[in-house]
Symmetry: C2
Subunit: 355 residues, 2 copies
């Protein structure tokens, strides 16, 4: 097994395992910046040699930043498909990156809080991620890395437009900031569509757990900025922050009202989900995500003294196919995964009960 | 509250709580005899005065039998509708008996193993019931009571036809013997319809838990003789016994094969049902019966060391509406019952876990 992948699997993932502000509702805050090197074509138009040159250049630069001692390195041409999938399930890389044929690499800190994709759509896609709702610290951290890198490699920058990017939607700041929110209260009280519409009208995007095109399984929603042009990074981050603050407040209200006016419905919803997770022997990923969502809500409501949010957060990630196969130690088909998933979830919750 | 009803509710019910032969599959064995007094019209054609006379005559006679010290007495005109329903849910009386307008009474031993309905369809309907598959002892017990009574009151008897009864289907021996079977293995392996057809062709009836017209909820099936004429009581009981022996053997095979060839499916079926029973906050009676059926199967398969069959057997009865309202101590509507049922089941299984 790729030793870096093993290291990731054995590591504590900071953005899942640590506490963060408002982590009853906000799972994580993430920002990424798109940057490109001057004098070289974008990855989509470059030759393999040019792309290898980009990898070498960026890597050399990153090794000179303050991150240098903490980095794990993944060569996308060298690692196995299942290991790519693990990186994707951990939200360290995009689907495009692992599916592409372009030579690429990922550099990431052991706690997965900071990473650099080389040769995704752009030469450099750096991201920072932290638990809970804390866009400010995430931005500070990423901005520091960006400052360090910009002093080491020449970025393509236009005085009028700002940073140039492969896709026009990223031109300007190249920033995408997002917060992953767990919104079971708004879903159960059927207010979620109104909230999504409102957020969209304000110019923000709402996506599923794995970004563009993914479903809102487990009542998990990523809210992010759409526009990257005409405003500073700080302004964009601040505007997103104020939208997130409002959504969190709506979700809190929704949970409180459900508990006040429809307690048995809520207890039943959570209790049954826990019963399924704790006792099923066959569990597909869709049902697992839905049930984990209800369990997470129950943990927040104080129904499960022995289970913490981080146990649930981790399950949200490790029930996916590549992680399951890593834990199983072999490739297993969909039917076997449903059995293994059920057993993994049962054990984790049983162990939590015993603590 | 009617003190006799309270006594029943607080009593250990022998046919549910005690062990019996093959009680992994056979819940209970029951036989009833229909008898009528000479010189009086059947209940359906009699005046209220005549019916009261029947009650007095039969009761006086029963008080002279060996049962006399153990009897509880219920006057159908005097007790409340909900108490009648409790008697029905405990399988001590028929639906016709509690819905009829004819003056009637029930005499029953405290352990509910032996009872006499006066003025159901016939003047006398006596029944004996024991846990598990043991028609022989049940017949001996009931036959003894029948002998004692026949010496005390004159039965209508025709030399050609045998005992005369209100409905022609009971003429002859007036016997109906039945065994309540729990057949989840045959249901899950989709063999149940073939078995029912086979049993029917042999001249035996298959009904739900509450007799004629009731659904086979909880995979519970009552198998009974249809014909009452032309054979002795012993012959009828023996023939039913040999059919039951075959069904039990089929069910055992079905369970074994499911466990061998489809273990995860079976564990999942049972585990999920237990999860629902143990953690739901809203539970209707249909889902409760289906889940209890799966749990009972799991107990038999050794999945739950802390739960015994009798805990499950008792739940099969007390989750019904009248019992729930008795435990709640007040009338509650259907929606409240679903909440109360869930809480009662949760508590019973939680307590079992603690033992």
């Amino acid at each position: 097994m790729n030793t870096e992948i093993s290291q990731l699997l054995n590591n504590k993932v900071s953005w899942l395992a640590d506490c963060g502000p408002n982590d009853d509702i906000a799972i994580s805050s993430r920002i990424r910046l798109a940057r490109n090197l001057r004098g070289l074509p974008f990855p989509t138009n470059a030759s393999p040699e040019q792309m290898k040159h980009v990898i070498a250049t960026v890597e050399t630069a990153v090794q000179k930043t303050s991150l240098k001692d903490e980095l794990l390195r993944f060569d996308m041409e060298a690692i196995r498909a299942i290991d790519k999938q693990v990186l994707f399930e951990r939200r360290l890389v995009s689907r495009e990156f692992i599916e592409g044929k372009i030579p690429g690499a990922l550099l990431v800190t052991g706690d997965e809080s900071l990473g650099v994709m080389i040769n995704e759509e752009d030469h450099i896609r750096m991201q920072a991620m932290r638990p809970g709702f804390q866009l400010g610290p995430v931005w500070d951290e990423l901005n520091k890395l960006d400052d360090e890198l910009s002093a080491l490699v020449p970025y393509v920058f236009d005085k009028e437009l700002g940073f140039l990017t492969s896709c026009p939607t990223n031109v300007g700041t190249g920033i995408r900031a997002s917060v992953m929110l767990h919104l079971p209260g708004l879903v159960l009280s059927e207010q979620i569509n109104a909230v999504i519409q409102g957020v969209s009208k304000l110019g923000f995007a709402v996506r599923g757990i794995f970004g563009e095109g993914s479903k809102n399984l487990g009542n998990l929603f990523q809210v992010s900025n759409q526009s990257t042009l005409g405003e500073s990074e700080q302004q964009i981050v601040q505007q997103l922050g104020s939208v997130i603050t409002q959504i969190i407040s709506h979700e809190k209200n929704a949970r409180r009202k459900l508990l006040e006016s429809n307690q048995n419905f809520l207890l039943n919803h959570v209790g049954r989900a826990y019963g399924t997770l704790r006792h099923a022997y066959i569990l597909n990923s869709e049902e697992a995500l839905e049930s984990l969502s209800a369990l997470r809500l129950g943990v927040d409501l104080g129904m499960f003294s022995s289970i913490d949010l981080h146990t649930v957060n981790e399950l949200f990630i490790i029930i996916h196919p590549a992680h399951l196969q890593k834990y199983a130690g072999k490739e297993i088909d969909s039917e076997e995964r449903d059995v293994f998933r059920a057993s993994l979830v049962r054990e984790r919750l049983k162990n939590a009960d015993k603590r």
